[in-house]
């Protein structure tokens, strides 16, 4: 199939940026979206032009590196799919595809489709862990966890930190990302010791870094490639309220 790509090009953080058009010719429907971009890039390099920069690594949908908005949707049109797992069989011959970086104040563009998501690391550093030093753990089976809780914790923990939730949100809120980590640890006995401190620290850090507020439109859930549910934001809000009442975290 042949496609027309309209791609955001921006040399660096200071550059204004603009769209450029490229033709992608003879693309196999078995190609992944990123493999289609590889082909375009090889063509550009052969012409002596600079290839389109984009983040990618595992290409299995688990590392969370790929980050682009395809036709207005983070990770493109398919539900529960990262860009690297999006295959060209979902497009039609002759399609025109608009490709942009994730856009959010907290995710500045570094080049073309590459953005800086280190704000997520900062939010995690603020409290997304159990404070346990290496070597001090008890036997693993000494802490039974009801299967239901363990399964919920696992579901929340499958967040890949790609930032699609932020890119999809009209407020550029990181609530789904933060809620996933807060919930993962709050469902487990190991994480409950620090639940009060954690939820305050992470939510405050998110606000400080320029992410917006949650207004419950659910765009994040709809665009999450891992199906992280909006329920976890409710869980985070409950954790926040609970911590406010018990008054011990401030």
């Amino acid at each position: 199939m042949n496609l027309t790509l309209r791609v955001w090009r921006q040399r660096n953080g200071q550059d204004q940026g603009h769209f450029e058009e490229y033709l992608a010719k003879d693309v196999s429907p078995d190609c992944s979206f990123l493999e289609m971009l590889d082909i375009v890039n090889i063509g550009l390099v052969k012409e002596g032009k600079e290839p389109i920069a984009f983040d990618h690594d595992c290409r299995e949908g688990i590392c969370g590196a790929c980050s682009m908005v395809i036709n207005g949707a983070p990770h493109g049109p398919e539900q529960l799919t990262t860009t690297c797992q999006l295959h060209m069989r979902h497009f039609q011959d002759g399609d025109r595809i608009v490709i942009e970086p994730f856009r959010a104040k907290a995710f500045p563009v570094l080049r073309d489709l590459v953005v800086d998501r280190s704000a997520f690391d900062e939010v995690t550093a603020a409290g997304g862990y159990v404070s346990v030093n290496t070597g001090s753990a008890q036997d693993a089976n000494a802490i039974p966890v009801p299967k239901g809780d363990a399964d919920l914790a696992f579901q929340a923990a499958t967040c890949i930190g790609c930032g699609a939730c932020v890119a999809a949100c009209k407020n550029a809120s990181a609530s789904l990302f933060v809620a996933a980590k807060v919930s993962h640890l709050a469902y487990l006995p190991q994480g409950r010791v620090e639940r009060v401190r954690r939820v305050f620290a992470m939510v405050n850090k998110m606000d400080e870094l320029g992410f917006g507020n949650c207004s419950n439109t659910g765009a994040c859930e709809a665009s999450c490639p891992k199906g992280i549910r909006l329920d976890f934001i409710a869980k985070m809000s409950r954790e926040y309220m609970r911590s406010s009442f018990c008054g011990c975290g401030r």
């Binding site: 040399r11 660096n12 078995d30 190609c31 992944s32 990123l34 493999e35 289609m36 590889d38 090889i42 390099v45 052969k46 002596g48 032009k49 290839p51 920069a53 690594d57 595992c58 290409r59 299995e60 949908g61 688990i62 590392c63 969370g64 529960l80 797992q85 295959h87 069989r89 570094l110 080049r111 800086d116 998501r117 280190s118 690391d121 995690t124 550093a125 862990y129 159990v130 404070s131 346990v132 290496t134 070597g135 001090s136 753990a137 008890q138 036997d139 693993a140 089976n141 802490i143 039974p144 966890v145 299967k147 363990a150 696992f154 923990a157 499958t158 930190g161 993962h184 640890l185 190991q190």
Partner: protein, 637 residues
Amino acid sequence: MTMLDGRVPEGAIEDKWDNHKFKMKLVNPANKRKYKVLVVGTGLAGSSAAASLAELGYQVQIFCIQDSPRRAHSIAAQGGINAAKNYPNDGDSIYRLFYDTVKGGDFRAREANVYRLAQISNHIIDQCVAQGVPFAREYGGLLDNRSFGGAQVSRTFYAAGQTGQQLLLGAYSALMRQVHLGKVQMFSRREMMDLVLVDGQARGIICRNLVTGEMESYTGEAVLLCTGGYGNVFYLSTNAMASNVSAAWRVHKSGAFFANPCYTQIHPTCIPVSGDHQSKLTLMSESLRNDGRVWVPKQEGDRRTPKDIPESERDYYLERIYPSFGNLVPRDVASRQAKFRVDEKRGVGPTKVSVYLDFSEAIGRLGKTTIKEKYGNLFEMYEKITGEDPYETPMRIYPATHYTMGGLWVDYNLMSTTPGLFVLGEANFSDHGANRLGASALMQGLADGYFIIPYTLGNYLANHSFSKVDGVHGTAKEMKNCAEERVKRVLNIKGSRPTDEIHRELGKIMWEYVGMSRNESGLKKALEEIPKLRNEFWSDVRIPGTQNELNIEIEKALRVADFLELAELMARDALERRESCGGHFREEYQTKENEAVRNDDEFCHVAAWEYKGEGQTQRHVEQLAFNEVKLATRSYK
């Protein structure tokens, strides 16, 4: 040739590590903060090491090529992590895990290292659970286990098909806690270019800032290389796109020995190649072989759809050849058998280069819901990539490069031949011999990082003195200039071929001649082809753009330049090792039934290569002694 000493401690195998821990010198808690440790790589080994060392009080700086430490390729490990907990009460023990791993590695690993790994395995599970890693659990709230290849017990802990993700996020969270406490400084989007050596000691690294293109130098008292394997030398592999050998290769060129480069693991269950556009291959976890049955049609060139082939005309060849291990034979064995079936023209699928992995029997026995619970994410991934529904039709799978057992040579303390340079995780060669068993890579990465390096690094620091930082800075400056020159040299070639094309070509040479099965004439051919391609790279590669900016083509070219040198060493090592063992299968050395034939008289050793200048290498050996597990022909029949 010199004989290398692995510095294995004295004593009975079960006491070695404990005795050694006691005998090693300690660094006083108040003095730890005076030492700075540089950790390169943030996978399981790097993150766990950095977090643990920072907890002890050392100053740590850690570097990764990704935009976040959480994206290191350990994240993609699917199936699980082994430990000798024996929770299922099915006869497991530290000794059995040790035994299975030595045998699984085809008697080419260092016994003492493997025993220590098995001893530590249980602590890893405890540590990860304490961090909140959500392992799969039974209804009673306790941890669940499953089986993996090369073992007859269930000792694998897992979190659906994304165990690596959960373990890495655990280690990442421990790391970020130390970042928050100011004990670790994190540098992302940095690629290590060279090692800084002062008085023969590793004292620093040169990095390229991948956003600005600037060269930066960092100095300290020790360097930990946790940079993973070199499977991408094959171009197509299950590794991430940025996984590369450069850090390991650069330290090799500055003196560290590279051990057993020919030991590469070809994983039997990957999604087959669909066309020339393919940029990487995707693994389907070994855990699937718990319930999936591998088969091909009995008849050559059978073109019927799998549903139309009756039971009696299917060859469940692993169950037929290896009745006691069946579909759960180790990876090297399963891969080779798949290749034999394809060579016999009994392969399936549009390209005829794949075999079936069939779940219909398990779905009938356990129900679709149970299968979905166990492997749901893997089935979804398969469907996304191939457009076929594995609940309805068998998966098609074929072997692909997955892991490299070879790596930088290290002693029992995980130190390379360069003092102060430690190598952890897949980047070293230590524990898996010639073939790694499933669910053992995660175990090794975390054992090295959480429980070994915190002891052995202290011993090194306490026993050595270090020259003043000023002298280090001088050398670092020189090294920085060299790295800049290298980038300029690549940029100035201004040829016509994109790096990707040359890399793909290298991959084809490697897969053809240094892949799943090797022979003398093929390896000699590879040794002719690789230097030719390398010359082509250095005369005709084309890199647009400049060096002082985010430039993805420079990144790729520098990596491929190093792969082109490593490839030659791999072929040379494979040629010199005139035996078949584990992942290294030499066609000249096999039984009538196509099983590998080892040559213990001549090759019961580790081959460690020393770089002697452009194209020059010297082979050294470390003799392996098997005092516990008697040398025997591996049998899974």
